[in-house]
């Protein structure tokens, strides 16, 4: 494995963990980091080729209505951005994770999550992303990000998330 590739992968891992933190403690992650204004720190959210940029600026997820896997106009806009980014940053592959809210039976939600992930994948392919760069997986209702039992939380849990990783060879 080349040093460049290792660096890329480590960079991606750091970016992913940074993103996780950002999601949970948003203010801390952004509030005090104003020193290097303008400078592009590789791998950071202001590096347009970074995973962090993809996750935060392009948007890594689309949301769905109850029991639906149709892509709303807003979702299509996000996916247009994802497709564009993926075409520009050809070193990345993605796994699209489909999720459901807790209001459903376990097996059905697994199947529903798969439908959602597939809807996002098909859309990205229709916008020119190579099919072999896109895999899907469903977590059903196993991995909520919001834990309240109200529509405000359910709406965020009914999602398809495009998770990048570096490492496409050739």
């Amino acid at each position: 494995m080349s040093i460049l590739k290792k660096t890329l992968m480590i960079g991606a891992m750091v970016a992913i963990s940074a993103c996780t933190n950002a999601g949970r403690f948003g203010d801390d992650a952004y509030g005090s980091g104003g020193a290097g204004s303008g400078a592009i720190v590789p791998g950071s959210a202001n590096d347009p080729t970074s995973t962090a940029y993809f996750n935060q600026t392009v948007g890594d997820r689309v949301l769905f209505l109850v029991d639906q896997s149709n892509l709303s106009p807003e979702a299509q806009l996000v996916l247009d951005g994802q497709a564009k980014w993926l075409m520009t940053n050809a070193d990345y592959v993605a796994v699209i994770e489909g999720h459901a809210d807790e209001q459903g039976t376990r097996e059905y939600n697994l199947a529903l999550g798969a439908r959602r992930a597939n809807a996002a994948r098909e859309y990205l392919i229709s916008r020119g992303v190579a099919p072999n760069r896109l895999k899907t997986i469903s977590y059903g209702k196993e991995r909520p990000i919001e834990i309240c039992s109200e529509e405000a939380c359910y709406a965020k849990n009914r999602r398809a998330v495009t998770v990048l990783s570096a490492g496409l060879t050739g």
């Binding site: 029991d67 896997s69 807790e102 209001q103 459903g104 039976t105 376990r106 097996e107 059905y108 697994l110 199947a111 529903l112 798969a114 439908r115 992930a117 597939n118 809807a119 994948r121 098909e122 895999k135 899907t136 997986i137 469903s138 977590y139 196993e142 991995r143 909520p144 990000i145 919001e146 834990i147 309240c148 039992s149």
Partner: protein
């Protein structure tokens, strides 16, 4: 007298006799709209030696808990006893038990020899002044003493209700810990009453929905061990597992054994579409059983293996369908308000249990196999995933509480809707599956 009794016990080790067709007062019809629970007494089993006193008391306690736990029986506390049972072979003083209104009396004797435990018991119909059925003897290991108690309780339950027992059985389930957004899951197995919990996997990956083989020796389950959901088969005794064959790029889940024990029915998702397939475990040969753009999942065989009930949203919402085991045209059987999922065929073949969602609530329900006589047994924020007791009279399921602190636990309920109660588990628990009666 003593010699006569001893001869009765010969050859009866670990065998239950058929139920006697007795029409005395000592009879519970489970289907009745009951009920005043039937009072019974289980004095401590008579120990062979002073060293067996404790186990004799422990056995009586478990027998009593099994019977009381059905909601069909009520224990007469030992503090009310007029006389005790100090000699298993002495004639029973019926008057003493009538006086405390114990309609059924269970007496027993226990002896241990090394690791071998021997339990004898007799059941008396106190108000008929008669023994109900013959005395039985069970032998097993000292560590397995609870099973001996369950076998006694099964025989008592069976003789009085005319139904098969279900106490000498196990439950496999998913043990859950941690908050909702970081929940750790691992497979576990325990006795039906929550005793003897043993973990079968660690919690490093998501595991879902374990299901017993018809003989109870193996468990099918779904795990994310390789990153995507795949089906594993686990040998319960050896705690060894192996992954089943899978087509590249697909996801498989919701497995159940066919009654033959070597075919598995499951859901396979390819390109976002979920259908029902079967697989021969030995050869890995896969056959597609449904072909529709809708979601087809949660398949369950009829006990004779000829049909499969499953859920599908082909009509626009989740509903229940029955099709021949070989596939082909499916008949919709659910027509009520709401969505129906997770159908499970009763081991008696007469009913199908299901999860129903209606008006923001979840229910466990049962219906006849043609969809008639639908009856909802429970209602809560989230009830899900019924599993049948071996006798087809009791259902266990998972109930999750609402909100950020929501927690899942196991419950059981009679198919009459009575006797809803929690099953104790060390942590949170979901996806229960009841074993057949043990040998």
């Amino acid at each position: 007298m003593k010699r006569f009794l001893l001869s009765l016990f010969v050859g009866l080790s670990c065998v239950t006799t058929p139920v006697l067709a007795q029409n005395g007062p000592l009879r519970i019809e489970i289907t009745d709209g009951v009920i005043e629970p039937l009072p019974f007494a289980v004095p401590n089993l008579v120990p062979a030696t002073p060293g067996d006193v404790q186990i004799g008391a422990d056995l009586a306690r478990v027998i009593s808990a099994d019977l009381s736990g059905t909601g069909l029986f009520r224990e007469v506390p030992s503090s009310a006893y007029i006389s005790g049972i100090n000699d298993f072979n002495a004639p029973v003083q019926y008057a003493d038990w009538k006086a405390v209104n114990a309609q059924a009396l269970v007496t027993g004797a226990v002896s241990t020899s090394g690791d071998t435990l021997t339990v004898q018991f007799r059941l008396y119909d106190v108000f008929s002044n008669a023994e109900l059925g013959n005395g039985l003897q069970f032998t097993g290991s000292v560590q397995g003493w609870r099973r001996m108690a369950h076998k006694v309780a099964d025989a008592v339950y069976s003789r009085i209700t005319g139904e098969g027992g279900y106490f000498d059985s196990r439950v496999t389930f998913v043990s859950e810990s941690g908050p909702k957004d970081q929940r750790a899951k691992r497979l576990a197995i325990m006795d039906y009453d929550g005793a003897n919990v043993q973990y079968l996997t660690d919690s490093s990956s998501i595991v879902l929905a374990p299901r017993f083989s018809p003989s109870g020796d193996r468990v099918l389950y779904t795990s994310y061990e390789t990153g995507a959901p795949r089906i594993y088969v686990l040998d319960v005794g050896q705690v060894q597992r192996r992954v089943l064959e899978q087509k590249e790029g697909t996801m498989s889940f919701a497995p159940r054994f066919a009654p033959n024990g070597h075919t598995v029915v499951f859901s396979l998702t390819e390109g976002g579409n979920t259908d029902i397939y079967t697989m021969e475990i030995a050869s890995g040969e896969i056959v597609r059983r449904t072909s529709a753009p809708s979601i087809e999942t949660a398949p369950s065989y009829s006990p004779d293996g000829s049909q499969i009930v499953f859920e599908s949203d082909r009509s626009g919402t989740q509903q229940l369908y029955v099709m021949p085991a070989s596939g082909g045209e499916a008949t919709r059987i659910s027509f009520g308000q709401g969505r129906y999922g997770t159908p499970v065929w009763s081991p008696r073949g007469d009913m199908i249990a299901f999860t129903k969602q209606s008006k923001g609530r979840f229910h466990i329900g049962v219906m006849r196999t043609d969809g008639s006589e639908e009856r909802l047994l429970t209602a809560s924020f989230l009830d899900e995933g019924p599993t049948w007791a071996p006798n087809g009279r009791v259902i266990m399921f998972a109930r999750e509480t609402q909100g950020a602190q929501g927690r899942s636990g196991l419950y059981s309920v009679d198919i009459s809707g009575r006797n809803l109660k929690p099953i104790p588990t060390p942590d949170g628990a979901s996806d229960p599956a009841w074993s057949p009666l043990q040998d």
